[in-house]
């Protein structure tokens, strides 16, 4: 880990002055942040603050909106890429885990097949190799008997298991940055901690930088290194988790904290 961190002085992800507009309405207004290799940055804010759009912008997935600013992945500028260029970034450099694991897996394909498909999009490997990689990825996220799990259809798995599969799919091609958009909101409270622990474990094994989008300050306190509080598409406050949650300086952060404690 520390060797990984020391090896690169370039942050895994560096975003500068990110703006997203939909029909004259500014949803993200000049956000700047960076995430080091192996680090977890939490994007916090209430619904509609622009967290999810920010996450989607990191993968060039903002449909019908105008995105400007700089997005550097491992030092390489990706903002302004065309669709073909973005396809090469998605999955292999920046990957995403979505909120609801009930809908983010295709019901007609086995989970192994879905992961193998992603591998084959990015790497010139045959079916067998891709299938083996899928089994490997399922083992990494802690599915019992990954070989058999690979042959399961999504509906045969519980919500927590499905979210593990979604994480495996996102990590299959070794992305430098993983964006997790409310990855535990749709799960039972007892499962939430398991999935977050899993994200931390795989992060420690792979050195992936994690952008954790959440509205849950408990999640921030337990699993993030640094936090960026977003309000109305702008940065309200940012810093180390202990510093920001311990002594919030911005009134918006204070009200968020008060809402949790109330």
């Amino acid at each position: 880990m520390s060797a990984l961190r020391g090896a690169s002085s370039v942050p895994a992800l560096a975003v500068a002055d990110l703006r997203v507009e939909f029909d004259q309405r500014v949803v993200v207004d000049g956000l700047s942040f960076s995430v080091e290799v192996g680090e977890t940055l939490a994007l916090v804010g209430e619904s509609g603050a622009g967290k999810t759009v920010t996450g989607l912008a990191l993968l060039g997935l903002v449909d019908g909106g105008r995105v400007s600013g700089s997005i550097r992945v491992g030092g390489r500028e990706v903002a302004g890429l065309d669709e073909a260029g973005w396809r090469g970034v998605r999955g292999s450099s920046v990957a995403m885990v979505f909120q609801d694991p009930m809908t983010s897996l295709d019901p007609v394909l086995t989970v192994g097949r879905q992961i193998a498909d992603v591998v084959r999009v990015h790497e010139r490997v045959g079916r067998r190799v891709a299938a083996a990689r899928a089994v490997e990825a399922l083992g990494l996220v802690g599915l019992p008997d990954p070989r058999r799990s690979a042959r399961a259809y999504p509906h045969q798995l519980s919500g927590g298991m499905r979210q593990r599969v979604a994480v495996a799919m996102a990590l299959a091609c070794g992305p430098a940055v993983l964006v997790a958009d409310e990855p535990t909101t749709a799960l039972d409270v007892t499962i939430q901690a398991q999935v977050l622990d899993l994200l931390r474990d795989v992060q420690q094994q792979t050195g992936t930088a994690l952008v954790l989008i959440t509205h849950d300050l408990g999640v921030v306190a337990g699993w993030a290194d640094r936090v960026l509080v977003v309000h109305d598409g702008r940065e309200a406050e940012s810093g180390l988790v202990d510093a920001v949650l311990g002594a919030p300086s911005h009134p918006y952060t204070q009200s968020l904290l008060a809402a949790v404690l109330a």
Binding site: F98, L105, V121, H155
Partner: protein
């Protein structure tokens, strides 16, 4: 099944297509329809063996005879064996029905998928094109095409599929629109999967069920339309056996020799019903929630 992973509610469910198959076989009407379809297909395939006479052999001495041991369905005006003509007519009907359904379904699926996936202007242009074809008087077009291309099975398939793909396109588009916004489509995009791969790998398999059901029914409708075209004289031509043509020629004999008309009519009714029942059964099996 993977018992250690299965959740309680999911344990009874197998893979989605197998589940649909089980529901189809449990539907008696659908299975009856399938039996009729299989019977007609076998008869058409083995027409030279099943038919006991040459369907084209004319014998003026045998004109308009009723059913007998030698001629099970009797003979027509020209003394041709009606049973043999009904048997060979099954070939014409199936060729037209399956050919038309296949062509129209392929065109409709492509149009519907492209319209739904691309959206915006592409969607608008394709759907207006669909409206134009729907508004076109297809009998007039049929006569025009027949004038240019000449009559025959191929022309009938061309005309019927040219004016039959629109319903499929609309259904495919509607189904694909729902799937386009599904979480797994966005997840696939986020994983770097390209548009064509997403459409063929995720959108199509999840949006094909309603189209399959309609396509099966469409085979029956196309067979019926062939009969109508042949009846009106712009479809199949003599001496090729066609049920529609036989009904047309036999209609003047309704009082004196009704068997000339009734046997091909019965075969037509039975076959079309078979396909419609299979279509309904597929509809129910593939989407049990839409059941009324």
């Amino acid at each position: 099944m993977i018992p250690s992973l299965a959740t309680a509610g999911a344990s009874a469910r197998a893979r989605p297509w197998a589940e649909a198959g089980r529901r189809f076989w449990a539907n008696r009407l659908a299975v009856a329809g399938l039996a009729v379809v299989v019977l007609v297909a076998v008869v058409a395939l083995f027409a030279p063996v099943v038919a006991r006479h040459d369907p084209l052999a004319i014998d003026a001495a045998l004109s308009r005879q009723g059913p007998s041991r030698a001629h099970w369905f009797g003979t027509d005006q020209l003394g041709r064996d009606v049973f043999s003509r009904v048997v060979w007519g099954a070939r014409t009907s199936l060729a037209v029905g399956l050919g038309t359904a296949l062509a129209a379904t392929l065109v409709g699926m492509v149009v519907g998928l492209v319209a739904a996936w691309r959206g915006g202007r592409t969607d608008g242009v394709l759907m207006r094109l669909t409206d134009v074809f729907l508004a076109f008087p297809y009998l007039v077009a049929a006569i025009a095409v027949v004038t240019i291309a000449g009559r025959g099975t191929a022309t009938v398939v061309l005309v019927l599929s040219l004016f039959g793909w629109m319903a499929i396109a609309r259904i495919q588009r509607a189904a694909a629109l729902v799937v386009r916004d599904a979480g797994y489509v966005q997840a696939a995009r986020a994983a770097g999967v390209g548009g064509a791969r997403i459409v063929l790998g995720h959108v199509l398999p999840n949006a094909v069920a309603p189209v399959l059901a309609v396509a099966a029914t469409f085979v029956g409708t196309a067979i019926l339309s062939e009969s109508a075209l042949s009846f009106l004289g712009v479809g199949i031509t003599e001496p090729q056996p066609s049920w529609g043509l036989m009904i047309s020629r036999g209609s003047s004999l309704l009082r004196t020799a009704p068997h000339v008309l009734l046997f091909p009519g019965g075969a037509l009714l039975l076959t079309v019903m078979g396909f419609v029942l299979v279509g309904d059964g597929l509809q129910d099996a593939l989407d049990p929630r839409a059941r009324r």
